[in-house]
Symmetry: C2
Subunit: 430 residues, 2 copies
């Protein structure tokens, strides 16, 4: 057989969004000695000592106590297929009620292979024709843009504006879509310390967004990967906790509060769905049905690891997150402090935001922050970052970059920002 032309494969494979992750891996491999502010990976402290057997045992104890299983039966669950909606749904529903005032039945929860599969299933369920559009706050997490691309879903970028989302633009997009015989079916947003921009919606904006969703009849896909990093006393209610009309589908991952390697996330979808025969079931039932055709079910071994970790923290997601949030806030403070000391916003107007949590800071430059500049930063100054244009859906963001501080040690942040400042002075002319 002659080679398959790439042009004969699915269009997503020619979309830059699919290459963005491998590009970062590749440049980090090429410059192993550079200090990298590129990946949003968890800190090494949290990925170095996983007691798999201990966590699994803790979960098996729980199964025996709560379901009356004997040990053999509980152990067998780890090996078998298991329900596509998951094994730890009760634990998750309890934690959501206790920690975040999100009150849904376990049946409204589906345990997924990370938040990525949750996004994928939600998009597949909600989008049934080319007339349905997905609005995404831009710049955005590549995972949502990529999932939409795989499913040939039309995307409408909505700018962040000054409050985390430009609601006027979103409202206009809804009206424009309707005028063209289409509709904005859903909006994807990370309300807390977004990836990549580190922005946060305040309480007023959260309420305004939910009102707009009601008025314009769209669903909100809330991704809460970074909310746990908020300082105690500064937490804001999630959109889902404020949601009175079942407008919000809540997406979450255990990668940041437990470990990425378990590949466990979940989705809360309590929206009622009415069949032609009048019967009503939660949208989660549909997501679980779709999941049988994507991954069948999430590994019970991995669910047991996560379930055990959750139980060891009194069944509290917030307690799991609290343990880690301190380190991430320390790193964020160090990063902002280093930027303030080393980089003076001069006439050339380098500036950056000051997130109170999360993993990411956005830096605006007076010059294009493109691949050429990144290569120069890596080879001449030993410091890596991510061009913000990689996260934009509309070709914008060419004069901004993302700094991530989640997995670095304090000395790396200090030294790295020293290098970054030197790079800015010489190459960008600040």
């Amino acid at each position: 057989m002659t080679a398959l032309p790439l042009a004969s494969l699915h269009g997503s494979l020619r979309d830059p969004v699919l290459g963005s992750i491998s590009f970062l891996n590749e440049i980090m491999t090429r410059f192993p000695d550079a200090i990298s502010f590129a990946p949003g990976a968890p800190h090494l402290t949290f990925v170095s000592d996983l007691d798999i057997a201990g966590h699994v045992d803790r979960f098996l104890d729980h199964l025996c106590t709560t379901r009356g299983y004997d040990r053999d039966r509980a152990r067998r669950l780890l090996c078998e297929y298991g329900p596509s909606r998951g094994l730890i749904n009760e634990l998750v529903a309890d934690a959501l009620r206790m920690d975040y005032s999100i009150d849904v039945p376990p049946r409204a929860v589906v345990i997924t292979v990370g938040a990525q599969e949750a996004m994928f299933l939600v998009l597949r369920a909600l989008f049934h024709s080319a007339d349905d559009l997905l609005a995404i706050v831009s710049p955005c997490f590549a995972g949502i843009a990529g999932a939409a691309r795989l499913l040939d879903i039309g995307v409408v970028p909505v700018a962040e504006g000054t409050h985390g989302i430009d609601v006027d633009q979103l409202s206009r997009a809804c009206r424009d879509a309707r005028a063209g015989g289409r509709r904005v079916r859903a909006l994807y947003v990370i309300p807390d310390f977004s990836n990549p921009a580190g922005t946060r919606l305040d309480l007023a904006m959260r309420r305004e967004l939910l009102e707009l969703a009601d008025r314009e009849d769209f669903l909100v896909l809330e991704d809460n990967a970074y909310g746990f990093t908020a300082a105690p006393g500064t937490e804001l209610p999630t959109l889902k906790a404020l949601d009175r009309a079942s407008r919000v589908i809540y997406l979450a991952t255990f990668a940041k509060v437990c470990v990425p390697g378990a590949r466990v996330g979940f989705v809360v979808a309590d929206q009622p769905v009415r069949a032609a025969d009048g019967s009503v079931q939660p949208l989660a039932d549909n997501l679980a049905a779709l999941k049988t055709m994507v991954t069948v079910n999430t590994s019970p071994i991995c669910q047991a690891v996560i379930g055990g970790m959750l139980l060891e923290h009194g069944g509290s997601l917030a307690a799991l997150g609290r343990e880690k949030a301190g380190l991430y806030r320390r790193n964020m403070k160090l990063l902002l402090n280093s930027l303030d000391r080393h980089v003076r916003p001069g006439p050339a107007r380098v500036r950056w935001n000051h997130p109170a949590g999360g993993f990411f800071v956005r830096v605006f430059l007076p010059a294009p922050a493109d691949i050429t500049l990144l290569e120069r930063s890596a080879s001449e100054y030993g410091v890596l970052w991510t061009p913000m244009s990689q996260f934009h859906l509309d070709g914008a963001g060419d004069r901004a970059l993302r700094l991530s501080c989640s997995y670095l040690e304090p000395w790396q942040i200090e030294t790295g920002i020293g290098r970054f400042a030197e790079f800015l002075r010489r190459e960008v002319g600040t």
Copy 2:
């Protein structure tokens, strides 16, 4: 918000194929005392004593030896995200070469969340417009039909005929598609002891199929879930081993030879893909890129469990399978023997095939084997089976059913077929 109409969700959610698995679960829950020949689950012996920590340790030893990692670095791999193509690709490529004469580089392998995700990624990569059709040998595994449905891929059923696949019909389907401005892009087939029909392609048919693929320019998706159950000395080469023109994409699962709960499978895709700039990479690279937007990567914890099991069997997939195949062949013999003793093919012409391996036997009835008859079989005779129509894409198969014997004990097979015979005598009139 008022309820979402099911009709406003993706069309796959109204397709019976998505309901087929939950239907079987539901009827088994309703008749817990019935002996069930319905699910193709692994035998309890193989899912009762998983030494997770031991298998993981074995794999970590291997990583330290082969990659020169220290123990901490190796342990860290379990917790982190890891490459989307997988961690155990070398082990898998070595096993394929050693066991099945499939000689591909590790880069041609992608480790997936079960064979189901492998199917899903392959379909997404290969099908880029509504003009591309997927031919499926019918009756077929629901997982392939469901994955195609999720991606809105047009399907052409091809009858099994008497040799496992009706190549004339397939050839005609290719010509018809071309005449209509479309094309058959790929064929999905389970050459060894297929699910659901238990059929097997002989060597001549395998060669003929590959020739047809070359002539009509389609790819072959070979699912080898059951090949390991062939009696020693009766193994046939896989299509992939016979494939001289990179026509075959090979799909496999560890669910049957290791444990389903690990959710690990893989795909071999060494097809060269040529980009617009002339560069060539294996199709596996594209599948790995798509995977970043579906599940990011397969849990390294689960890959370590499977990697450890493989290493404990000298790195041989065949050795892993051999250990289990004896039990499955015993069960198949018992099933066929019980059928021969209890059910006499009378004038009403109940008949069945005699697979030499696999999990499944197909029984033809002189009457419709529908849900009503199944309910009666369950409630009055205490025996469950699967209507074959559930596996057909074209409304056929209404007078056939599937018996699965994989997870039953000998006494259950004997007693269950006794009940089945009684049911046939009284309800079907044999």
